[in-house]
Symmetry: D2
Subunit: 349 residues, 4 copies
């Protein structure tokens, strides 16, 4: 009953096989290899647009390097108060940007509402040297509450941001899960809705350690190669990242893996919601479920071997009662069954 995190699982076998295949022969280092070249073409195809792509090994690196490319030290970056970039990266955005200001926005179910953004921006006067200047809006897709912005919702927020001259970043650590939920094209979910750059996650959904930073507007990418190198995020054996990403993307593997995780979460959430005493705090739209359990049930479930976390975040509506269950590309049907059975029993249902 493993629902602690999508990071607790390992990786898809095809990804490791791709590394085995990539081991043959010497190749130019630092990204001047044909595998990396192919990654670029694959992303062009997926996004129906010539994009500029960089690979790194972690999501924190992807997000922070994107910010550093887009935001001067005197800039401000706006994100949801529960966003990973806000609370779970030990100040990485501040570090990479040379001290940009992170502005935390409240919002139901992990999402930023347009009025909230507009109101927050009104406190940052344009050209007023005393105020950090708004440069980036970062949207998490899927959100930290397991919800998903529609392309229309993204477009409204992006329009506000662009109206202030800000770039729009999407933290897509769980982008595949969001996309499966949306059922639209990658282009529709991103640049067609106004996203300028995204962190395209792969680690959580089947890779060992691989993320892409995708610039839909190449102008913003000029400094990225230097920033990546000086942050220690340029792999010498760059094929290690490229081979993973290619295997992740080929034959729609990324979407199939995410579809499985989402299906598991949907079933888990759907059935939990029907159990007396259990409450779901957010709609289940990706691969995360946020229930609260009556009495001692959460502790009892853990005692029976269920792995998941009590969850507390800024803006938490559940005041410390909420738990987080994450499904993954590897989640087994029988684990979901076992968890539901145990919950029903413990809840006296």
């Amino acid at each position: 009953m493993q629902f602690s995190s999508d990071n607790a699982e390992s990786w898809a076998p095809e990804v490791l096989e791709a590394l085995a295949k990539a081991a043959e022969g010497p190749l130019p280092s630092y990204g001047d290899d044909p595998l990396t070249e192919e990654v670029g073409q694959r992303f062009n195809h997926i996004f129906e647009k010539d994009v500029t792509v960089f690979l790194v090994a972690t999501g924190t690196a992807a997000n922070s390097l994107a910010f550093a490319s887009l935001c001067p030290p005197y800039g401000a970056i706006f994100a949801h108060e529960a966003a990973h970039v806000m609370v779970d990266e030990c100040g990485a955005p501040e570090f990479f940007t040379g001290g940009a200001k992170m502005v935390a926005l409240p919002g139901d179910a992990g999402k930023i509402a347009p009025d909230t953004l507009t109101h927050a921006l009104s406190h940052f006067f344009e050209g007023f040297v005393h105020h950090s200047q708004p440069h980036v809006l970062s949207l998490t897709q899927a959100t930290e509450s397991g919800t998903v912005y529609s392309p229309e919702e993204v477009a409204v927020l992006a329009k506000i941001a662009h109206g202030r001259g800000m770039a729009v970043h999407m933290d897509g650590a769980r982008f595949a899960n969001a996309l499966v939920h949306l059922g639209c094209s990658p282009a529709e979910a991103t640049w067609k809705a106004g996203v300028d750059v995204m962190s395209f996650g792969a680690t959580k959904n089947g890779c060992l350690a691989a993320e892409a930073v995708v610039f839909f507007n190449p102008d913003g990418a000029a400094s990225f190669p230097y920033l990546r190198k000086r942050a220690g995020h340029l792999f010498s054996k760059h094929r290690v990242l490229a081979a993973q990403m290619l295997a992740y993307l080929e034959e729609d593997r990324w979407l199939k893996l995410a579809a499985h995780a989402n299906a598991m979460a949907a079933r888990l959430g759907g059935e939990l919601a029907g159990i007396e005493g259990v409450r779901l705090w957010y709609p289940v739209q990706a691969n995360e479920v946020f229930p609260s359990f009556p009495g001692e049930v959460a502790a009892q479930l853990m005692g029976e071997g269920a792995a998941f976390h009590p969850w507390i975040v800024p803006g938490d509506p559940a005041q410390g009662q909420m738990c987080r269950l994450v499904t993954s590309f590897k989640t087994k049907d029988e684990d979901v069954d076992a968890f539901l059975t145990a919950t029903r029993r413990l809840c006296g249902a």
Copy 2:
């Protein structure tokens, strides 16, 4: 009718006279001069304790250098959402600390409530590498709303902070005004209540450009001299700062100047509160008054030559109707009279 800012006035004549006197003869540069030595002794006397003092020219430098001394790059600094360090220094704290996280706390009338601090801290897990680690609590005294923390209020907050191993910083840009209101000793208002380091403002209250950073615990001060130098804040002709500060402190000048400013604000606020249609949003405890005026009265007052600002801050209860009037050591009785007369007339009172 000058109420735009205490920065809009110049300086006390005695301060300039001290600079004239300090011009005689060569002196060692960079602070190895007898005037600077005397500043240290003066502060020891004022605070009834051996303190470590550094002089700089601006409040932003004082605050940020204090933070950089106390907080590692992976640390978090907690302050009121409307605090100068949070919204009016263009990200200086993030810059000086190498990217520490600024955590904005809401709170009525510019003050942080103990529960708010406790709750915010509960989201930052101790030793959890994903979270910036709480290192500093910064309290503004007097607050940005012109209110004043009592020593008891400071002590409660300091106890919470110390309980988490945090240092307590006081941004005393208007400390003299606060102290006059409190009527207690400087020691009672600071280190006896748990303050570890303070920015002791002098510029707003009669100097040209001089602030002191006072460490009540010398341990935290070890890196300050280097940080100040590399930030360009060590004056070569250091007597320029020292002479100002000596003149500011001698014969209780700092308190007398602040007492005048406070008295002007008290009269202004007291009478405004009695005018039909005018509302004061915060109690007047230092040298700032935050009224709202009915209809077009604010604009009409400006049209008649009154200098003050419409005021909007995070957590603003007045939703954009509020104005800020600041009195200073130079505010004239007749300006207060004129303003009150005009307001009464325009309000039809």
Copy 3:
């Protein structure tokens, strides 16, 4: 004839096999897994001492995070003018440390001479706020010139550094190659000679992407976990790094792989030195050979498919004629033979 870099080769098959084995089952993320635990024990054993170990994916990250742990922003780091940390990391040390000063020292054959260090330190006055304060000496082992410091040489330099209160860092990107040359124990080559922290390279010598930072004195390591996280270098699926490192270390694999590389370099260098017109600029002690070739021979060799680089570094004694050939754990005997045959032919020998 692949001699361009040890980064151009892939990895040892046993390392990939270890990743395949590590894929089984969920494991705690972020390093709380048994494989990571085992890495720590393995390093304790190798170094005959309880050490504190952190894993990252790149050498630049290892070096820079070590520096950031040891050196405040107002510190100075001394290294050879041709050191990787000085010239090949796009300013990573300056970035990670928040702007420490990198002081470049000249020195024959990639090594720093004791007098050079002493002389350089004499320009940095202790406690003088105008000078960045010496905090770290970084030694590259093997050096960028393919030479190796003896433990005695390290000890002399370390004594000077410790005498100024500095920590000694060893950039061991090619530590295995150095150790094979020295024939002493890992402990003798490092902490017994005065090294306080090292970057223990594995990527160049058989891993996909894995480096260890080893603190011989745990005091210096306290901030490392936070610095690593906020730099985006903490892997969520941390077993990816741990499994590689375990496979690299087990059965002395790291030393065997390096021994092969060194043997190839020794043969290559030894025979090149005997060819009329070829000159070796540095003794061949690890896995790098720095020859110059007469006339057009270097270009002709490249034309015949030999992969290597013309080499220019600060302090280059060869004024632009020098080439760098690197052997690796994968270098084939027949490549060495082919290169030597071609060189002899082209040199008319």
Copy 4:
């Protein structure tokens, strides 16, 4: 016999008088005042060009903020190895730029030779992500050795720098002294020779604490206001800086003050050079003299009350025997006489 530093003296009486005059009436803060406006016009006139000017209080701030405006974190700044920005600012350039690389160039008498710059640049490959990218050349005028670049020398260096896309910065902490020596126009000494931005010093030559950063090309100045504010270098009572600078510039005061200092140095150096056993290490072109004295004479002079410093810098040709004597706008004829008389006596001349 005060020759320790031009920082040891106070300020010109006219500068303080200007502050007294500037005290009248309230003025807009943060630089929106008429005095600051007038400073801009004055600089336009002096440089025969529309320039963009910012005022700060210290030379370190001026230099570092200029660098931060011109150089990204992955950039490199080239300066003489003895330059103030290189060795006397405790790493301020690295701090303000977010970790740019400072590249130290050797050179006789404090000057960089064109070949030295060209050679150093050849080690930084354009577009090569492993190398910090050259962005700024900083020239000190007058140099740290008291020598002065001719406009022709500046032009040759600037052409090399511009050829690599670098900006040219001039550290003019002693620009007035240099200009008096050159006898050319301010424009000829700066932008007509290729200087893009300069630190225009005033503190050492008669102000209390005032420096200007002058952008000859306004493009580079866009981020300066934000960088200055977040570094704590924007004065609230900005007239404090503006009034000083106006008094400094009016009636050619800056040039008259420097002419006096230079004349004193010329006489001091000229006569010292004629004393048996005394050696001057650099030509005396501004207000500094670098003699060495035979035997115990230096110590004896200090014993008799002469204030000056033994001097050691990187590239010091005198190996620790050199002394530095600085004259200023306040140096008295009788002090020069007394020093010369004592030296002659002690040297047995």
